[in-house]
Symmetry: C2
Amino acid sequence: MPLNKEIQPGDNDELTRERLQATFDTQQMAAVLWDSDLARKRRELAKKVDKLTVLHDSKDMAFMTREEKLSENARKVVQMFAHMADIVEDPSDYAEVFHLSCNAIGHEGHPLAVHFVMFIPALQAQADDEQKEKWLMPALSLQLIGTYAQTELGHGTNLRALETTATFDKATDEFVIHTPTVTALKWWPGNLGKSSNHAIVSANLIIDGKAYGHHNFMVQIRDENTHKPLKGITVGDIGPKMAYNASDNGFLGFDHHRIPRRNMLMRHAKVDKNGAYTKPSHAKIGYSAMVHVRSVMIGHQGMFLGAASTIAIRYSLVRRQGEIKEGSGEVKILDYQTQQHRLFPQLARAYVFMFAGKEVRELYQKVLNDMEKGETTLLADLHALTSGLKSVVTHLCGAGMEQCRMACGGHGYSRASGIPEIWGVAVGGCTYEGENMVMLLQLARYLMKAVKEAKKGRSLGRLVDYLLLPQDKHSLIGRVPQGEYGPHLAAFEHIARRQIFKVADELAKLQDRGMSKEIAWQKKAVELQRAARLHTRFYLAACFHRKVQSVVDGRIREALADLYHLHLNYELLDMVNYALEDAYLKADQVDFIREDMYRLLETIRPSAISLVDAFEFTDRELRSVLGRRDGHVYENLYKWAKESELNRADVRQADLQTV
Amino acid sequence: MPLNKEIQPGDNDELTRERLQATFDTQQMAAVLWDSDLARKRRELAKKVDKLTVLHDSKDMAFMTREEKLSENARKVVQMFAHMADIVEDPSDYAEVFHLSCNAIGHEGHPLAVHFVMFIPALQAQADDEQKEKWLMPALSLQLIGTYAQTELGHGTNLRALETTATFDKATDEFVIHTPTVTALKWWPGNLGKSSNHAIVSANLIIDGKAYGHHNFMVQIRDENTHKPLKGITVGDIGPKMAYNASDNGFLGFDHHRIPRRNMLMRHAKVDKNGAYTKPSHAKIGYSAMVHVRSVMIGHQGMFLGAASTIAIRYSLVRRQGEIKEGSGEVKILDYQTQQHRLFPQLARAYVFMFAGKEVRELYQKVLNDMEKGETTLLADLHALTSGLKSVVTHLCGAGMEQCRMACGGHGYSRASGIPEIWGVAVGGCTYEGENMVMLLQLARYLMKAVKEAKKGRSLGRLVDYLLLPQDKHSLIGRVPQGEYGPHLAAFEHIARRQIFKVADELAKLQDRGMSKEIAWQKKAVELQRAARLHTRFYLAACFHRKVQSVVDGRIREALADLYHLHLNYELLDMVNYALEDAYLKADQVDFIREDMYRLLETIRPSAISLVDAFEFTDRELRSVLGRRDGHVYENLYKWAKESELNRADVRQADLQTV
């Protein structure tokens, strides 16, 4: 049995020969990437989906209108829930259900996505017991389909400026929900436009003329039977987007719409019938939901980049173009150093982003457990970490996936490659759940606090312990025996620490000169972001290091170490100016890093296909003609094209009429 | 009369106040960007298009299926030609007609695009007089609609490997055009799928069993009356792409399809009825068409980035989010340093790319004139220059436009922003007309030749003269009076020269150690690309310098100089490691560059809107709700959304049935 488990009879010979070079067991590597339990579950559920034709794409979504996409995925999601118990081992296991959804539905959205991912969790977290009694069962049985309506046309990031109002009317014991301006329209919530009949609406609570800030309210928006919008409610779809076009992101406006007082979610804050307001026990409570989404996002982004890498690397082993030596025959494009340099660093990033996702989810679980005990100290650490990771990871994923797409040449540009759609989905993450630039500044704020503590010899949290350590003057890269990468990781640490202290000093200097704290912050905002990025990239490198150390199997560890070392070299070169500025690194050391990087590209080359096969994406999940497991690309591109909507008739009637 | 000419009554006050701060005349700046004659023509044709409702979008293309897009743009292009004489001053002026097309049709393609841009020019350049007589008039009068079919499913960049054959049959005086494999299918040609009835087909010429390489053949593919594919011909659309979906890029296969011998385009190479082959007078002849497209591309890419900058900067002056000082009110997002740092460098690039486009088109014209006289020495220079520019400019445009889109937050992700579509169009340029990675290596080859000459004290061409100059040891940045930027430009030159010589030395060393030239090249491919990029970025900076110097009006020159200095600082920081490695720059100088960059962001801030207004894009052309000249963004986003295809009915029938 070959080590690469993706080999099947009838495959493109080129790929089989590549796969026979595997130095490690791809299923064992999958267990490292996904955890062994989940890796097994993914394989098993994929087999079951294969047999259930009701869960198969009726045609490629790229050939569909938005109407058709919505219908297709509504059909799928209903079928998915109908068969859930037969397919997954544990329907309450979020990760397992997610992977079922990747196979059956994909990433363009479906009418119940926000219902399950945000509406029900928000009910669970924010409704009191009586409210749960009332709404949770109907929601679970899909009588009541809900969305979560927070963002408005005029405001996203700055929640305090949301304009929708919920004014308490003591006389009738009701809230009056109102949209005072066009900019106050709820805008963007998923599944709001057409699918949902209820929404949890964020609105500024007003009692006796006093504003209490935004709180959440359960509002029915459409009739349960006719599905028509209720009186006083304006609702619709916000129109086509870059991706996610099977989701009906919507707008929502209220004309003095009345709801019972008890429709305010009252687990934490409360309003009684006399209009007396009780504030939540502590302010950070709302926080954890967003942190949760961010912690899940990191791993998903890694998965998206992994999918794009899989497509590009497999295709680069099928595609031959040009000769390295004239007359010696065309070579696989992955044999070019330039192609390796384009793709392998993205592959390494996909790996480390998945590892970081796992670490962050574990930390989140720990924070949750702590919070149950009333302990919230780690929450600020987690918030800072996820803010930085969310921003750095989504940015690098977007840019990396574009590299993967372009590495596929012209065919990467076709929707048949599958990359344009997942790229569109992935880059949405740069904006939602906290805009990246704002997130970096939130981490920077934490880092500046950490500097203050460090100067007093104290650490603000485990993740910034390294700020207490002294700086080395010179790097040991290239001065220690070949194969030792400790100095590389130390360089990440050095660079991050230097920039963090440097910008802290600069801020202090500006304030010493009489500038206000806010203006100084504004003048150093870009440098603060740089500090946040460098801190995060150090975290990522260290996370990769921890993962490699934790692997027992020698062959897996060796393959992983090659990727890790490539990552160290590549990322270090990308930020090397920071280490050159204070002469921590010398020119010969930079050359050493470069040469070692080029060497590693060659080392990784024979394992490339096995490293991507280890993600174990099914063809059904990848939805890519270029990235097919069997490597039969060209004949299937032709087959795919023939199914395109424009080929339904040989001659377009319009061509005869107008031209 | 205010200096900013875009002010109109009824505009959003925020924008009017911004525009009143203009320090220069926006129409004068437009004359610098477009040339005064073209700037005037653009304004005049836009007014005429405003009055011609047949040239207006019937609805936003984002709401259309591909079928509808094709029909819409077929309608438009017919109307455009019908009214051409009333709208443009000179229908033979490519630039004027292009801008008409930007207003009336946009960038998603139309059924006659390749017909005019490639088919007719190819006929003009490659058909002999008798052939022109036969085909040119029918083509100009649209009896015959043609495309240019070169790329195949299996081969793009490596033209020598194209598989389609044209075998001469002496007995019948015909060529037999044949597609021997699936990978030999013609794939990608624009307008091939549905619209064209003729194609100029690139095929490997075979006479008496001997292959003569690829030549061009005129092939009728569809019946002129029924528009049905002819017997022996398989043709169709290749399916949806990231963008350009109003273009029917197609596939085309031949089953031993016969055409008369005289359908080979015979201006240069010839085959007589006895099968005797005459080769073209010189090999570089086919070259110039591709160089032409590339030289036009540079300016267009600058225009795309300019459009994205216009959208993002205008929107950033309408959008308010967050407070710099608590309680002082929400600020325009362009007031944040982070937003300025995200957008202004893109704006500066848009300017310099447009300037470079103009320089390159002028050089192309000079080369053409020279070629008429049989002089081809400059052609290699031009080819090298356009190869580098094409690659660097398309890459930076793609990344820059993504920054512009993300700078618009969530609404940037909506198709209403207009950026996703033009981004999709622009990034296509990374691949077509020569894949970027390959293009960089072509420039690198030229640079390595130039080093050899330089070592003998000779210059290979004007653009590499600087290789003959000695290297300075230390930069004068920050050591000369403030406001002098000569040392910055010198740093670009220094960095490029150092990397070019460094990689040349490394190549030589590998060969000295016995490595073959080809393998050494392959081992240094990434470093060679770096050399090509640095050379090109030096060219761009120098081009910006030349432009600023050439401006007479003091106020225009001052505004332009600020952008130029920002460009110098920003780009230099992006490549600063190369200058730190050999201690050409010191840490304090890098800090100086940073501080100066942040200072310039503040300087440019009040002029930002006038700098984008100077592009004089009409709303019709921008097709962006966020980028509207009048700044009335929110009410129009709402209006736009209501027109979305999913809002045709309040309730989707499918929602009632499936959920």
